[in-house]
């Protein structure tokens, strides 16, 4: 163990620290975290509508929430909350992204957020067109429609308009474009600011005005660079906006890859490995967990709002960020609530039972530091195999249950401190089968943990805790 720790500290941790501390990746992580107030509020609205509008018809024939007084109004209010949050989640993200990049470089973050937002919006189509054919219109109707600015014949209508921002360009679909365009624009802005290519005003000018003026040249340059790019792109690919092209060629294939069983298991395995060696797994893997699985989740939340679970099943993603929480990370990463139960039932070691008792409360809310460090699990060779294996098996159960249609995909954003069964129930848009899948995953984990808990009974408790670990990892307490 000593050699392994030395190896990790010398070769792996510097790399993990570089990834975890990389300025732009930290900004990306913080950008996602920064959107949480909006995305969570939107998720609450969608979830309330799921409970009031979508769940009851499963149990009561003829139920229609939209026709019941008070319920109808609450559903409408929730719609407003959704419109301002998840419907434009991409827009909120691009601001947060620019803000955090600029902040990382010590440049006015507000201007960074504005530049990123403006640059991302600049490439979005402002027009729409659509048509209906197979009609039989009289001449007067055709004349009236044509006079209104649309195009009509006796057989059909073609409607086109300008001045509209399509929501499907502002929601989760904007994330990947925003990550690239927002980054480029904000970096140009940041670099010019740092080189002092700015308008300088006298000290007597109030700071807010001074900052805004200082940002004018860098922001204008950044936006013009991006605008020229959009222009050139439109000449090369005339039929698509950059966003549409990026969605088709990069985002969708990447999100598609994340849906493979191997990718899901690999992510689960690596998170466990990181935790075991005392490294914050989700922090290191944030670009994948949040940047890929998180984006897929937002897509699902929006689909649910538009068409309920059926639309998520037909058009959404089967495995998203919250799926890990729902089916594998109950009680915290590693599914440690199951270990706590196993310890309370089968452990004969007083030290283990004491830690388990202390860990029950936090564990219910998916906080597992007490057991991770108290038992400990971190760097405990005895716990290595079940700690890695149990979540992988749990993820597999959740994954295949979702793929086989035994449970709806996760389509709600639920805060991670929500107790396990409730979490999967809410996360799937109130699918009663989800807690059952969680239970099956828990039972499988339980079966994996039991032999190791019982084996630990045979270890001498006096040697099984701190002194033993000290020996294992080779730290000589007197040498420092």
């Amino acid at each position: 163990m000593q050699g392994l720790i030395a190896f990790l500290e010398r070769y792996f941790l510097p790399l993990a620290a570089k990834i975890g501390g990389q300025k732009h990746l930290v900004a990306l992580r913080d950008a996602f975290i920064g959107t949480i107030p909006a995305t969570m509020a939107g998720s609450v609205a969608v979830m309330l509508n799921a409970l009031l509008r979508d769940l009851p018809p499963q149990f009561f024939d003829g139920y229609d929430g939209n026709s019941i007084p008070v319920i109808k109004q609450i559903i409408a209010i929730n719609g407003y909350v959704w419109s301002g949050t998840l419907a434009v989640a991409g827009l909120i993200f691009v601001f947060s992204w620019g803000y955090n990049i600029a902040k990382a470089y010590g440049v006015d973050p507000l201007s960074g957020g504005i530049v990123s937002t403006a640059a991302s919006l600049a490439g979005i189509t402002f027009s729409f067109s659509g048509g209906i054919s197979g009609l039989n219109l009289d001449a007067a109707t055709v004349d009236a429609i044509n006079a209104a600015g649309w195009s009509a014949t006796s057989e059909g209508i073609t409607a086109a308009g300008w001045g509209w921002l399509p929501l499907n360009n502002l929601d989760a679909n904007l994330f990947f474009t925003g990550m690239i365009i927002g980054f480029v624009a904000t970096m140009i802005f940041v670099k010019l600011m740092l080189r002092n290519i700015t308008i300088k005003l006298p000290d007597s000018v109030p700071p807010a005005i001074s900052k805004a003026f200082a940002s004018i040249i860098p922001a204008t340059a950044a936006l013009y660079v991006v605008a020229i790019f959009y222009f050139v792109f439109s000449k090369i690919v005339p039929d698509m906006t950059f966003l549409q092209w990026l969605q088709k060629t990069v985002a969708q294939p990447l999100l598609g890859l994340s849906q493979g069983f191997g990718a899901v298991v690999l992510v689960a395995l690596f998170v466990q490995l990181f935790w075991f060696f005392g490294i914050h797994g989700p922090n290191v893997l944030a670009p994948i967990l949040e940047g890929v699985f998180g984006v897929a989740q937002l897509e699902n939340v929006n689909l649910f709002q538009q068409g309920g679970a059926d639309l998520v099943i037909s058009k959404g993603y089967m495995w998203v960020r919250g799926s890990f929480d729902a089916y594998a990370w109950y009680g915290g990463s590693g599914g440690t609530i199951v270990l706590i139960v196993a310890l309370l039932l089968f452990s004969k070691r007083k030290d283990y039972r004491t830690v388990a008792n202390l860990s029950v409360g936090p564990g219910i809310f998916n906080i597992n530091e007490p057991i991770m460090f108290g038992l400990p699990i971190v760097l405990n060779p005895m716990m290595f195999i079940p700690f890695l294996l149990a979540p992988v098996v749990s993820v597999s159960i959740g994954y295949w249950a979702t793929m086989w249609g035994l449970v709806n995909p996760v389509s709600q954003q639920v805060t991670w401190v929500t107790p396990p069964f409730l979490l999967s129930f809410l996360a799937t848009g109130a699918d009663w089968r989800a807690p059952l899948v969680t239970l099956v995953a828990m039972l499988a984990s339980f079966a994996i943990w039991i032999p190791f808990v019982m084996a630990a009974n045979k270890m001498d408790p006096d040697l099984g805790h701190e002194d033993k670990i000290a020996t294992d990892i080779g730290h000589d307490t007197k040498s420092i």
Partner: protein, 74 residues
């Protein structure tokens, strides 16, 4: 006394806290038991000191990815 549970970079944590002087709060390394490090401190509010330690470690280039716990020792 403050207890810090960290699996890796224990030497760096000890060096960091032995040289820490934030708001007059100082730490002195006392002993190590497995993954737990123990520090004496002059802080009266141990919860505040534990939070200070957490922030100090997180602010290090090597600390942002560490999974560790900092709490008043029981």
């Amino acid at each position: 006394m403050i207890e810090i549970s960290a699996a890796v970079h224990q030497d760096k944590i000890i060096e960091l806290l032995n040289n820490c002087n934030e708001d007059g709060i100082q730490f002195s390394y006392k002993e190590k038991k497995g993954i737990n490090l123990y520090f004496e401190t002059n802080a009266e509010d141990l919860e505040k000191a534990a939070k200070l330690v957490k922030t100090a470690i997180k602010n290090q280039p090597w600390g942002s990815v560490l999974y560790f716990r900092s709490a008043p020792a029981k």
